[in-house]
């Protein structure tokens, strides 16, 4: 398992290759890449900066991955989250999961992403024509994470 918080961009192909290399039991890799958009809440976004809580961020992400591994029969997971200044079209986040079959890999990837959005201490500040503003948390993100709760 690997969790990385970094300013630098990442190479999706190279990361996926490294994740699956040397394990012929892997039959599926599910991956998600989040990107910076040029619009939010109807306003143009020229760029954003991402703040985080060093130490807790890594700990929270590792815990989310551990929970995913307990829940699904997956082999491994990789989470990379960028911090610092980003502009539209930049990659922000990568979640990749390896498994024997696609079902577990898809589900675990979505689970990790949903909990990352509500549990990992990152905050976005975006630049709009009206000035910089902190992005508000969305109720829909809480609901997305909530649907994984076992009945």
């Amino acid at each position: 398992m690997a969790v990385r918080v970094q300013q630098e961009d990442f190479d999706l192909g190279a990361e996926l290759l490294a994740l699956r290399q040397g394990n012929p039991k892997i039959g599926a890799i599910a991956s998600f890449v989040g990107l910076v958009r040029d619009v939010n809440e109807g306003d143009a976004v020229a760029g954003m900066s991402l703040e985080h809580y060093p130490g807790m961020t890594e700990k929270a992400l590792e815990r989310i991955v551990e929970q995913a591994k307990t829940r699904w029969a997956i082999f491994d997971a990789l989470v990379i989250h960028r911090v610092g200044d980003l502009k539209p079209t930049d990659q922000i986040v990568l979640v990749a999961v390896t498994g024997a079959h696609r079902g577990e890999a898809f589900a675990a990837c979505e689970y990790i992403m949903d909990y990352l959005k509500t549990q990992a201490p990152f905050w976005k500040r975006e630049q709009t024509p009206e000035g910089a503003r902190w992005v508000d948390a969305r109720e829909s993100d809480e609901q997305a994470a909530g649907r994984w709760h076992k009945p």
Partner: protein, 84 residues
């Protein structure tokens, strides 16, 4: 001593990113600490008011009002997270 950390919009609104305080004698839980901080008035009273959306982590784990705090703890207060 306990270490208090503030992040993102709350760090700006409160005008401080970190501080060290002696644990107030009657403060044993997170809810007691936020009530104690509200007594500072101004932005503290406003931002940490009941019903305002903020989160607290104790020693880098998400906490709630009932989480026990003690000497040497690192307690972070921040807005709901918006990564991803």
């Amino acid at each position: 001593m306990i270490t208090l950390l503030y992040f993102a919009r709350l760090r700006e609104a409160l005008g401080v990113s970190s501080e060290q305080i002696d644990q107030p004698a009657d403060v044993r839980h997170v809810a007691g600490l936020t009530a104690w901080l509200r007594q500072r008035g101004g932005a503290w009273e406003r931002e940490l008011a009941e019903g305002r959306a903020f989160r607290v982590a104790v020693n880098q784990d998400m906490a709630d009002g009932t989480t026990v705090i003690g000497d040497g703890d690192e307690i972070a207060i921040f807005p709901p997270v918006t990564g991803g």
